[in-house]
Amino acid sequence: MEELIYTKTKTIQPGKSSGFCPGCMHDTIIKLIGEVLEELDIADKAVSCSGVGCCGLFMDYINYDYVQCAHGRASAVATGIKRGNPDSIVYAYQGDGDFASIGLAESIHAANRGENITVIFVNNGIYGMTGGQMAPTTLVGMKATTAPKGRNPEEHGYPMHVCEMLDTLTAPVYLERVSCNTPANVIKTKKAIKKAFQNQVEGKGYSLVEIVTSCPTNWGLSALDSLDFLEQKMLPEFPLGVIRDR
């Protein structure tokens, strides 16, 4: 007798597939978010706000409400949506360039106001869509098209640590850094995402999950090699774990 033990989330449009590069973790995360929305039975209340860059590439294939935001402004837009309709479940989905560079003011102030929203911050240390430029989270020595000799601290400073920075604020209720580099970490990522949404359902306030990911295309590595790079280089700089849980 056959038993259905796994099925694709209904939050993805039937017959659509993602446009992400092989080895990219965005589609894993979008899938995890979708599964969480279904498990918490909030998919029909969900509104996603995406930033600009690869983080906006899911617009064409998710099956729930979607607002395309200007580069960096997703946390401000999410603020407006949530306040307009407090019953909806609003999340901002932002990459490192979007959240931590161009949108840093909007990002930090939404956190500081303690907006009752969920932020999924995807950190792969590089600009993806525009072609491998240096991000605020680019590692020291890591090459980028706009830092051809690699990130040089004397010239470029050091990688930014978003969770630790937000941890200096009083309002946020939940900050955790996870990764999707191993099956075990994918499961942890899902748990973190679920908690971040559960907090919003319970009206607790601002939750952010930082997900350390790879960019095989712009790192110039194969999908498998990029997993090694993530493990050996990214995670020491961006250690995983719960930074705050109230």
Partner: protein
């Protein structure tokens, strides 16, 4: 009708609340601070929300988000702050999100001066952001007009699903005048307005019937069709341009302008008439759509000149006047800028010079 004495900025705010505005985000900048201050007091009284945003950029994006959820939302700023809103306004225009914003304009370019000016005309009417979108732009000349236009702006924004701009200036923002306020929309009416947008608003929908607030993406043909539909709408507005004609019929010299300048011109026209000079006034009440037709009311057989009056150097409004007049009459300009008010007497002298 009961008159109340109100400051322009506060009257604009109250009109917005009465029109059903329930969200305001803004950032301090002179001379429009009384709008956010008023909203911070007033909106909570009607179950609305006020956010002092971290920047004008954040404010317009909060309004974009809030209006995307179906609420009547507004922001305001002044000149250099309005520039910062360009990106968000452009997003609203492309995604067809209705919202109202107010420019209580000051001197420029740059940080300019904090005193009243009209140096944002081209920005307001031609390019308030990237991409060539258009908006209805209202230019009040009195506090009463500012009230009536703000109230109406929310109706137009919803009808068109497009941003609407109130192009005021520091004088209209800071003067106190008696006004008759429009009726306050009931909570039921406000709720019904929001509910009327449920189908497209980002409030959460059953899986498969999602709302998509979409200011652009990958599908060229789709977005060209959005551009075309918007263009059709912009063109249809032409018939709805608003203007005032004052003593135009027999005028030998016409003064023309908008907002506070046109109001001063009205004084000049009266004073010229008292001196036996046949002067008239053409005042634009909407600066987009521009009231080209208004200039057809001028009798070009007897009119010897048109004097453009505006608080802007270089003059900007005059560019549209030239198109409207189309060579039928000489045009000259009298303007001041950087926060200096126009003088009725200087205006009269400039008008007289055109008759020589």
């Amino acid at each position: 009708m009961e008159r109340v004495l109100m400051k322009g900025c506060e009257a604009i705010s109250e009109a917005a609340v009465r029109a059903g505005c329930r969200f305001f985000a803004g950032y301090p900048i002179t001379p429009q601070n009384e709008i956010p201050e008023y909203m911070a007091r007033r909106l909570p009284e009607v179950g609305g929300q006020f956010v002092q945003s971290e920047s004008e950029v954040a404010a317009i994006n909060m309004v974009y988000g809030n209006a995307s959820s179906g609420v009547r939302a507004m922001t305001s700023s002044s000149s250099c702050g309005i520039s910062l809103k360009s990106e968000g306004v452009s997003y609203c225009a492309m995604a067809r999100i209705p919202m109202v914003y107010v420019n209580v304009s000051r001197g420029g370019p740059g940080v300019g001066t904090i005193q009243p000016a009209q140096q944002d005309y081209h920005q307001a009417t031609k390019a308030s952001g990237n991409g060539g979108f258009r908006m209805r732009v209202f230019a009040p000349a009195t506090v009463q007009e500012a009230v009536d236009m703000t109230y109406k702006a929310f109706e137009y924004a919803d009808k068109d699903r497009n941003p609407v701009l109130i192009l005021a200036d520091g004088v209209i923002g800071s003067v106190l005048e008696p006004v008759v306020l429009p009726p306050q929309k009931t909570e039921e009416e406000v709720a019904a307005i929001k509910a009327g947008k449920d189908e497209w608003a980002a409030i959460g929908h059953e899986l498969g019937s999602r709302a998509w607030i979409n200011p652009g993406g990958w599908d060229n043909l789709l977005y060209e069709s959005v551009n075309k539909a918007a263009d059709d709408m912009y063109k249809a507005w032409a018939e709805e341009a608003e203007y005032e004609l004052f003593m135009v019929e027999d005028a030998e010299v016409i003064l023309t302008g908008y907002g506070i300048s046109a109001r001063i011109a009205r004084s000049a026209v009266k004073a010229l008439r008292e001196e036996g000079i046949k002067a008239g006034l053409v005042r634009a009440k909407t600066v987009f759509p521009f009231p080209y037709k208004a200039y057809d009311a001028i009798n070009y057989d007897i009119c010897k000149g048109i004097l453009d009056v505006e608080m802007s150097i270089p003059a900007q409004f005059v560019d549209d006047v030239k198109v409207a007049v189309n060579g039928r009459c000489p045009i000259s300009c009298y303007g001041r800028s950087a926060g200096i008010m126009l003088s009725k007497f200087d205006m009269m002298d400039a008008a007289k010079a055109m008759l020589k």
